[in-house]
């Protein structure tokens, strides 16, 4: 079975570690971390990814900008995107989903919820 690649774009090292910790329970996945939107864009453009987990509030480039750039690129637009954010308002959720996010999870996150969402989206890439 081919290994699948997941990109975590999150400025908080604590959250990156927690998400990576949870996602490593999935089999056959490689996890790459990026510390802000710009770093995320560089990494997603230079390699193949099957899933991206993106925070909204980040320095340098925020998550919404990153999502719109990813969805605007022909070779990247099909990557499933999960937003993980502190913003719980409906309008924030609607904005992210309108930009092309597949799922919207609010903090504090539950590892089992992240795992379930990641599993579903990765399955669709099989």
């Amino acid at each position: 079975m081919d290994r699948q690649r997941i990109l975590i774009v999150e400025d908080s090292p604590t959250m990156r570690q927690l998400l990576a910790f949870a996602l490593r329970r999935l089999k056959h996945v490689d996890i790459v971390e990026a510390q802000d939107g710009m770093d995320g864009l560089r990494k997603v453009s230079s390699d193949h990814f099957d899933l991206a987990l993106i925070d909204i509030n980040m320095p340098v480039m925020d998550g919404l900008k990153l999502i719109s750039l990813i969805r605007g690129e022909d070779n990247l637009k099909d990557i499933p995107i999960v937003v993980i954010t502190t913003e719980g308002a409906k309008e924030d959720r609607d904005r992210a989903l309108a930009l092309g996010a597949n799922e919207y999870l609010t903090k504090p996150i539950r590892a089992d919820r992240v795992l379930a969402v990641a599993k579903d989206l990765l399955k669709s890439r099989d």
Partner: protein, 272 residues
């Protein structure tokens, strides 16, 4: 004369064919007869095996009833075992969920403690505490108070949701937060809809070797967070212990660094 002979031969041949067919038919009849005889013998045997008298019929009926009864009992036993297996299955499923939950909680606690002890830089430690309180607890408005050794007062060292100067001073003599420091135990109350900087909803004392060094006060939660879970209480305890030691170690380290630099500067001055 020749023609009469030919006719005679033809009749003879015809008779011979007729006789052969008769012989074959007879053979077939004999085989069929044998088969029917066998069938009759089987039926007779079955008849003789079956009840010959009403008593025998009664005996057979009782045997069959007993067999039916035994099968019904067996069925009940199997059903009971199935019910038991289903119950066990449900218990295992519930236990699995519990273990999953514990596993997730432990992951959060592990990551929090790992991050807290990953640096000896005071600002970094404060940043990590803020990250944990936002991302793992789900707080929106809070402050980290540290005790000033020289003045003996609590001052805000880091905050989120409002500027440092907006947070009220924390008195050591009165108020819920001073009680938190006195008891040394994390405290929390029902969260409110909006944050009020005068009314904390969580107080986490930061204590090292029975000596308070500060506290974390939470005034408001993220809008999607509507209460505190078991994990939150564990996080409060972890934050109380591990944040305190991480802050204490970072302070000691920065003081020793400063002293080392001063001594090094002094030595440089003397040796020049």
């Amino acid at each position: 004369m020749g023609s009469e002979r030919d006719d005679l031969f033809a009749h003879g041949e015809e008779f011979l064919q007729f006789f052969k067919r008769g012989a074959e038919f007879t053979k077939e009849l004999l085989v069929e007869n044998e088969r029917l005889r066998g069938k009759l013998a089987t039926l007779r045997q079955e008849q003789s095996d079956a009840a010959r008298t009403p008593e025998q019929w009664e005996k057979y009926r009782k045997e069959l009833a007993a067999r039916l009864n035994s099968l019904e009992q067996e069925y009940e036993v199997v059903r009971a075992r199935l019910r038991q297996a289903e119950e066990e299955n449900q218990q295992f499923a519930a236990r699995y969920l519990e273990i999953e939950e514990e596993n997730n909680n432990l992951a959060n606690l592990y990551v929090a403690s790992y991050q807290l002890h990953s640096t000896l830089d005071l600002d970094e430690v404060l940043k990590i505490i803020v990250e944990i309180v936002i991302n793992l607890v789900g707080a929106e408005v809070f402050a980290v108070y540290l005790l000033d050794g020289s003045t003996g007062e609590l001052g805000v060292a880091a905050s989120e949701g409002a500027a440092i100067e907006e947070f009220p001073p924390c008195s050591l003599d009165s108020g819920v937060l001073s009680e938190v420091l006195e008891t040394g135990e994390p405290w929390c109350t029902e969260p409110t809809q909006s944050a009020n900087l005068e009314s904390p909803i969580v107080g986490i004392p930061l204590i090292v070797q029975q000596r308070p060094i500060g506290l974390i006060a939470i005034f408001g939660l993220l809008q999607q967070k509507d209460g505190f879970s078991e994990l939150d209480h564990e996080l409060f305890s972890l934050l109380g212990g591990h944040s305190a030691t991480a802050l204490f170690a970072a302070r000691l380290y920065s003081q020793s660094e400063r002293k080392l630099n001063t001594i090094q500067g002094f030595i440089d001055l003397l040796t020049k």
